[in-house]
């Protein structure tokens, strides 16, 4: 197999943020002692007076970001997903989501692909705890180029708060250039008739690989990149499943609360369908290499192929 092309979503974020910052001086950036890791350092170097390092104090960072947004700024607050969604969840709920304050929370280092740092840093619950908040929007870009498009979009999005989920490890390239992005965002990347495979983030490229494997076995899978988990593109989901009558979801997240749950909630109400959810099976991660972990926890092309056949049995 040819070597997979990869690029870091967090680096794409940092570059796109710098560009956005050049165009709009209302953009301000906050981090909690992770300017380098989140690649917000490019912005910090270019616009030191619009960059605020808040130290290891994420709850305060979210409140400060809200205060800046309420004063006409367009804040981006970035840290690792575990500290962006988990630690300050209550602050996000009270002073960002409830009053619908347009803070852009861009979280890096989500999921198992954090790798060696282990379970304490492998955020696998963030999609769930963010999307449950009224007014919150949740975006999981499929790769670096989609990240660029997303940053451009949210820089101008003032209708409410946004949570963006990025990775640590370089992500397989899905798009050769930044694709169009608008809410609600779900795109059919590979059309098919037998089963709908809904994927987000790093799992999109894995789903596309599985789709090719399934094609060899005469199974026609449709792969949908669900970039915005919330708002969910109900029309695209329903259209696909109406055609295929079978669904599989795959995400680098707990099977509870994330993309799989969002799809099941929609289908249960609109189009009851059997859904196979591939993700982390209600357990914590551990140290290891990114690729090893994905395979160990069943987030592989092989698992999708097996799962799809199981659904179609």
């Amino acid at each position: 197999m040819a070597e997979t092309r990869r690029a870091m979503t967090r680096e794409a974020y940092g570059r796109a943020l710098l560009e956005a910052g050049k165009e709009d001086e209302r953009i301000v950036v906050l981090t909690a002692d992770l300017a380098g890791s989140t690649h917000t350092k490019y912005f910090a170097d270019a616009f030191p007076n619009r960059f605020f390092n808040m130290g290891v104090a994420e709850p305060n960072m979210m409140g400060v970001a809200a205060g800046l947004a309420m004063s006409g700024k367009r804040p981006f607050a970035s840290t690792f997903a575990i500290f962006a969604a988990g630690k300050p969840w209550e602050q996000i709920r009270q002073v960002i989501a409830y009053p619908r304050v347009p803070v852009r929370i861009v979280a890096t280092h989500a999921g198992l692909t954090v790798g060696e740092d282990g379970a304490s840093h492998q955020m696998l619950e963030d999609i769930g705890i963010m999307r449950i908040l009224p007014n919150m929007n949740v975006i999981v870009p499929a790769d670096a180029n989609e990240t660029t498009a997303v940053v451009k979009f949210i820089a101008r999005f003032d209708a409410g708060p946004v949570y963006v989920r990025l990775s640590r490890a370089p992500s397989p390239v899905v798009f050769d250039e930044p694709p169009p992005f608008e809410f609600p965002a779900a795109t059919v990347l590979s059309p098919g008739n037998d089963i709908s495979i809904f994927a987000c983030g790093n799992m999109v490229s894995v789903a596309l690989e599985a789709c090719r494997r399934l094609a060899e076995e005469k199974i026609s899978a449709e792969v949908i990149n669900v970039s915005s988990i919330k708002p969910l593109d109900a029309e695209t989901v329903i259209t696909s499943v109406t055609k295929t009558n079978a669904a599989l979801t795959v995400e680098e997240h707990q099977i509870i609360g994330g993309l799989g749950s969002a799809i099941c909630e929609l289908l249960a109400a609109e189009l009851p369908t059997r859904v196979m959810r591939i993700g982390v099976q209600d357990r914590f991660g551990q140290s290891g290499k990114a690729e090893q972990l994905l395979s160990y926890y069943g987030l592989s092309e092989q698992q999708i192929v097996v799962g799809a056949k199981e659904v179609l049995k």
């Binding site: 400060v64 205060g67 947004a69 309420m70 700024k73």
Partner: protein, 276 residues
Amino acid sequence: MDSITILKKKATEIRCNVLRMIHHAKSGHPGGALGMADILTVLYYRYLRHDPLRPDWEERDRFLLSNGHTCPVLYAILADQKYFPDEEIWKLRRLGGMLQGHPSTAWEVPGIEVSSGSLGNGLSVAVGMAMAAKLDQKGYRVFCQISDAECQAGQTWEAATAAVHYRLDNLCIFLDWNQCQIDGHTEEVMDVGDIAAKWAAFGWRVHEIDGHNYDEIIAAFDSFAQTAGSNKPTLFAAHTILGKGVSFMEDDPNWHHGAPNDAQLKEALASLLVVS
């Protein structure tokens, strides 16, 4: 009448309305609201640069109430200043009313600057607003009320650290130091010790005042008005009395929350009006 007498009469009127609205709502938190009536009256009727007809005026001073449960005092003042019609206060805590049990900008209440209620959150937002003012080189000031019990919350100290780091001399906190919280006296629940000294140690300019003494309150505001360029945020460590002005409520943690019944309201209003 001299100006202090006028302010005191206004504070009494505000206290009466606090009690009336909580009595009418049949729930709420009178203790802290009565305790902060003097400082907030001096703020709103003497120092705050604001315009009730233009609540979104960009250059306005901001006041953020972090210990949101004391909101009846703020609602009473905002209604009196015509931010919204008086009738609203009779819908306090009622379905569909904009005056929620804890105040929120989600309900677009004119004059409300932050959603609060979860203790420890407000100061961080105030810090963000003060930072924005600095960034835009605007002259507005940010005032924020916090409670002594909020000094038990870690986030308060995160915000206290950041305000000093970013040299926010346009930020002024009123610390409602009444030594009471819902479970009892602060000393017994979780002693916060000499909080004035703690804030000073964090790098704040601290004015320790009697929160019911108008000369001291005014002197503290006058001093804050001259801090521009000092690079340090200011805190009024205000010794206050929970339930101030209503003898049977004073310093009784049981009045942290709870609505007066008809007889208690009558007695409370009588005791307030006698003093004034």
